[in-house]
């Protein structure tokens, strides 16, 4: 069996790269839920900054994905 290093490299790149952002987005969501729970009327005000923060955290995972795509 030929050890195909490039496939392994792609897998490691996206696998490890999605770990941090996954945790990050989970934490953002958790804090947002907590804030809404304390003050249900502020739900609309919390929604937009939460989505913004999620998109920033997701961008890190996207950088890892781009590297995974560009490994030949």
């Amino acid at each position: 069996m030929e050890l195909d290093l490039s496939t392994l490299a792609k897998a490691i790149a996206i696998g490890l790269g999605a770990f941090g952002p996954g945790l990050g987005i989970g934490m953002i969501g958790a804090k947002a839920m907590e804030a809404i729970g304390r003050n249900p009327e502020a739900a609309n005000k919390i929604l937009v900054p939460m989505l913004l923060a999620c998109a920033f955290a997701e961008a890190i995972a996207i950088y890892a994905l781009v590297i995974a795509f560009s490994i030949k």
Binding site: L51, L52, A55, F56, E58, A59, I62, Y63, L65, V66, F69, S70
Partner: protein, 297 residues
């Protein structure tokens, strides 16, 4: 070219497989002497055409009592101006920055959404090194890293030029190469002995900000490119898995992602323009003035 390929398929009895992969780089569809027109460029032109037609229609039908289309756009623009105000904290600055921010928003939005339309089935068959490959005519403009890189470069350079026009080139120069701090070593050495350590550190922080600008360009372009391109690959994979009901929730996800990424790009543009145009020294002088007033009373 298409007739030759169809003949080839007839010769091989239709057994030659056609490659239908989404590639990282946009495929060229036309060569004009030295200038290659890729399918992403073509889609960007279509997006600009759509926006121009929309703008002309709105302008012709501008009335005191708005029609449905005018109403929708009035709601969107009012909401966007309020969002802009939350970032800039000043209506005058908002009105200066708003035109470019909202144009970038609509351009990115239409480009993101054009990649979702099913007209991606029209295209050319081209013989490459690995055999026949299918090249679609229409591919989302922002799914090509060239478009997003161009937009990011425009955003960051635009922010710096906006700062130069707002507060003058000496202040913007001092943001990166902090010569004023180095000069202050000589003027403030009598009042504040620690300035001899603080000033070189501030000078190097200024140089690091220059590297930060390049990081901004990279992050802006890759965030948008990565989201849209990954969405395309995801849709293709889902459709290859089971073509009927499965891609539908992913299509909704991609519509939402298109809106969110366009919103984030334009909001970051407003943030960068605002940071460039805020004069920190005026704020500091104002604070010192207030301090003096309080002490003297």
């Amino acid at each position: 070219m298409e007739v030759k390929e169809i003949n080839t398929i007839k010769e091989t009895g239709g057994t030659e497989g056609i490659i239908y992969e989404t590639t990282l780089f946009a495929e060229p569809i036309l060569h004009l002497k030295d200038f290659t027109i890729t399918n992403a460029l073509f889609s960007s032109w279509m997006a600009v055409l759509i926006l121009i037609v929309l703008a002309v229609i709105l302008r012709k039908k501008l009335r005191e009592v708005p029609s449905i289309l005018q109403n929708i756009f009035e709601v969107i623009i009012e909401g966007a101006l309020d969002l802009c105000d939350q970032v800039t904290n000043s209506r005058a600055l908002s009105i200066k920055v708003f035109p470019i921010a909202i144009s970038v928003f609509f351009f990115v939005l239409v480009n993101n959404w054009l990649g979702l339309l099913p007209i991606g089935g029209l295209g050319l068959l081209e013989r490459g090194e690995e055999g026949l490959a299918f090249i679609p005519f229409l591919r989302g403009g922002t799914a090509d890293v060239n478009t997003t890189l161009a937009l990011a470069l425009m955003a960051v350079f635009g922010a710096n030029f906006f700062g130069i026009f707002s507060i003058g080139i000496w202040k913007i120069f001092n943001k990166y190469v902090n010569l004023k701090m180095l000069g202050q070593i000589f003027t403030k050495i009598k009042e504040d002995k620690t300035i001899i350590i603080v000033a070189p550190i501030t000078f190097f922080v200024g140089l690091l900000e220059l590297i930060g600008e390049f990081a901004k360009i990279a992050s802006l372009s890759f965030r948008l490119f990565g989201n849209v391109f990954a969405g395309e690959v995801l849709l293709a994979s889902m459709a290859a898995l089971f073509a009927y009901i499965l891609p539908v929730p992913f299509l909704f996800l991609e519509i939402l992602v298109g809106v969110i990424q366009a919103l984030i790009f334009s909001m970051l543009l407003v943030v960068y323009f605002t940071i460039s145009a805020t004069d920190h020294d005026a704020h500091d002088e104002h604070e010192k003035h207030e301090e003096n007033m309080v002490v003297s009373v």
